[in-house]
Symmetry: C2
């Protein structure tokens, strides 16, 4: 999917919501555990109920790997279901991968070719040659961690490197990488005030913003500082939507939560 | 496996060699492609031929994910084969994972419990709460990237943070994390001279050292600067051993390469 197609979808749906599909079998409604594939059954129900309210879905690979082969099958089925039924929805493999060059190429093939995700998240610590293999894929997007929403973000990301914080140095440096137009960035919503500085460095890039709601971020602030003239934001919510209820009405309640965010977004987009 | 058990194995086998099981179907001998599970067939042959010469095996997860479900099955079979037949060999899931707390716990369960690896590699960028969930597992080891062996290491890892390079700040900071005695570190062999500084910060920790041989690192230098009184080193070689030949004699040739390194290690250990 091209960035322009993503922007079109945002304008059409009046939403820049991304829903995180982080399926924990201990948290989903009990009645689903009787299904042959409870993870996929849960995802399918959530997707069916919310696809008109969001522009992206983001399964975090940890939740699938934790269930071994069964988990990977559920991940495969979920992405196949999305690509078949909702090809205009942007898909994110939240995998936070990164390795030396030839190894990163294997990861890129796994997520971009075999699973056919539109994008994958990567970690920057190993530098240019660990990220460029992902950037080489046309119309695929590599979403690099810049400033994350957890407390550990302050351990290294905000430390001063020369005259700027590490995460800014990461942003600045990455602009010079080959095919850097395929980069997007993870920027936690819990630090909305940082977004103005970030926009000064990367005015045009899309930002994937976790941490709105449950983790304390404020949607209005994020949009005030982070939005650009192509919108440039994907706001992720996972638990707040998918676990809104753990009864038979879980999908309906998820849609209610998603709609509440979409309505706020619609107002902001006006 | 405890660290003490690993040290005993090193002394018994006179080897601190780790063999990287990075299986690329384009590189393995053609005759194996007829097997039902060529990846596992390759690994089994390599393990059968080299297990007396090394103390650790390290499959890099990228090479398994790249083959989807088939790849994950091969990874499961490989770790099961190792745990059943060679329980004294230290196993490393080279996954370079890291995420926010509850998500890192899912990764830790995947690798430590379901797959029953002794250790997993993690990336430090997201800080303390992304790594501590791994450290909570008793007699399991978390091998954190410090200074990697690729050129991208110089993009961020060697940048000055305050009065020290980022990788040293990472080492220093991690010492204060809960259960930090379960930490080991990845330190690339291409920078052997850095090892003296690293040992000043973490004198007792085990270091996983890639990059000897193919990537230019020198075994004698690494040992001179990096060895401690509990040995404290695992030297990894992947391609140099497993792809020593791509004919029917591949396992035999792999053993010859592994033995050459083991013999050098035996001399160093005297």
């Amino acid at each position: 999917m091209t960035t322009q197609q993503l922007v079109s979808e945002i304008k059409k749906k009046k939403s820049f919501l991304c829903i995180g599909l982080d399926v924990d079998l201990n948290k989903i409604p009990k009645h689903l555990l009787k299904e042959e594939d409870p993870i996929f059954a849960f995802n399918k129900a959530i997707i069916d109920a919310t696809h008109h309210l969001c522009v992206a879905y983001k399964p975090n690979t940890a939740f699938y790997e934790a269930y071994g082969i069964k988990g990977w099958k559920a991940l495969e089925k979920t992405i196949e279901y999305l690509n078949k039924n909702h090809p205009n929805i942007f898909t994110i493999a939240d995998a936070k991968r990164g390795d030396i060059g030839n190894t990163s190429t294997m990861y890129a093939k796994a997520f971009f070719e075999d699973l056919a995700f539109d994008s994958v998240t990567v970690a920057p610590y190993m530098g240019k040659d660990s990220v460029e293999p992902f950037l080489a894929f046309k119309d695929k997007h590599t979403i690099m961690l810049a400033l994350t929403s957890n407390t550990g973000a302050f351990d290294f990301q905000t430390k001063e490197v020369g005259n700027q914080e590490l995460y800014k140095h990461v942003l600045e440096t990455s602009k010079g990488w080959q095919n850097s137009e395929n980069l997007m960035y993870v920027v936690g919503a819990t630090k909305a005030e940082y977004l103005a500085d970030i926009r000064a460095i990367i005015p045009d890039s899309f930002l994937l913003v976790p941490g709105v709601g449950a983790q304390g971020g404020n949607l209005q602030d994020v949009c005030k500082y982070g939005m650009n003239d192509q919108i440039g934001l994907l706001i992720n919510s996972s638990r707040g939507i998918i676990y809104a209820s753990n009864h038979e009405d879980f999908a309906e309640k998820a849609a209610t939560q998603a709609e509440s965010l979409q309505k706020q977004m619609e107002i902001i987009l006006q």
